[in-house]
Symmetry: C2
């Protein structure tokens, strides 16, 4: 039979686990909302829906507040529980991931602003296909990065980082097309520039999804894979020795 | 006379203080380098110096590495020292500030890339005055944010946050001018777009300087002033009650 002290420790430990589970859940909720914001911003752009665009902009405050709340809870856990090893990595990773989620929310809000301007001032003559395509791509990356976090899946996290390269390529191609088009039709410059800013925001969303994925790899493996390149990252994830790059 | 135990505790406490002092110093070093990168990137742009631009791009790796090193040291301190209260706030603030410094470094590298393209493909017909002006403005903000950190000066931190509003305004005005100019002279679109991206990067540097300033206020006051607006921020810094906004 456990002693009183053991029961007390079990109790504390159970409380601590509950707290960790709670911030994990909150992060996934915040992530779900951010993902929806990206989706709604793209829909508002494609469909010229100024009302939906406005809703996206208004919801940004709620995301900012979630960042502050989760961050405060992380700090409270650091101060009171003094977590070690994998618990510490979880708390630190969460406090980093929410920064990227908040920035993704910012980009959704920026896209919504451009969508509203375009809905009000008249549609751009080009670029919607590209925005929809890249938009869906980066939204899926955000979703998969969150999924990788939920399931502690480093392979999936790595595949998100790899996708970011593809997005960068799609972005460059789309930008070149838009610039060519502006030169051919200078009267459309103002409106096409709105599309340019949307493309830029989407590319940034891809970067942040990659950051989230890198934090997931750190959380699971304990290795910081930022700034090391895809090859070495893959070696870390697959557990083989780091390849030259 | 102090007992052995007291001497031991003093010793540990001295070591801990040394460690905290060490990461503070490292942060300020990283900040100094980032500030120089911004400065060099602007000079490379204004003077059409492709070689200097290339140097800025090459130095970005060193900044990335500093971020990783300081972050690892912060984590080690969290794990081994389990800091509380203001020590905990210092470690957490440092781990957040270095993220913004690294991003400022990224923007400097992006500006350098545009500077190189312009030096090689021919200068843009407009926009250098604006880039120099806003460039100096945001560089000063970075400098002052770091200074506020070094001296734990919340008034100075607040003034950095306030400056960011002015930069946003300057940015908008400059962007409008560039768009008008592109419409008047479509052949220059490609080169003026490079200036547009530089302006955008500079505006982002201002945002990051503001973030650093907000972390300084948190560090000193213990209040999270992100996302609350300038008026409430000012009330927090000056210690009066929060004004309606």
């Amino acid at each position: 039979m456990p002693s009183d002290k053991e029961l007390f420790n079990q109790h504390i430990s159970q409380q601590f686990n509950d707290e960790l589970e709670e911030i994990r859940t909150q992060l996934l909720e915040m992530g779900g909302l951010v993902e929806k914001q990206i989706n709604d911003a793209i829909v508002a752009l494609i469909e010229g829906d100024a009302k939906l665009a406005q809703q996206v902009r208004e919801k940004d405050d709620a995301i900012n507040q979630m960042e502050l709340d989760i961050d405060q809870e992380c700090l409270r856990i650091l101060a009171r529980r003094q977590p070690a090893a994998s618990d510490l990595r979880l708390v630190v990773s969460i406090s980093k991931i929410i920064v990227d989620l908040e920035r993704i929310g910012d980009e959704a809000s920026k896209i919504a602003k451009r969508a509203r301007d375009l809905a009000e001032d008249g549609q751009a003559p080009r670029g919607y296909v590209e925005c929809r395509h890249i938009g869906h791509h980066v939204r899926r990356m955000v979703q998969e990065a969150l999924d990788a976090f939920a399931r502690m899946d480093t392979e999936q996290a790595f595949s998100v980082a790899r996708e970011d390269k593809a997005v960068d390529q799609e972005y460059k191609t789309a930008m070149r097309e838009m610039v060519t088009f502006m030169m051919e039709d200078p009267r459309s410059i103002g409106r096409v520039l709105n599309i340019l800013w949307v493309l830029r925001s989407l590319e940034r969303v891809g970067d942040h999804a990659r950051n989230v994925a890198e934090h997931v790899i750190y959380l699971v493996k304990g290795t910081d894979v930022r700034h090391i390149g895809l090859k070495r990252m893959e070696a870390e994830v697959k557990g083989s020795s780091a390849a030259d790059e």
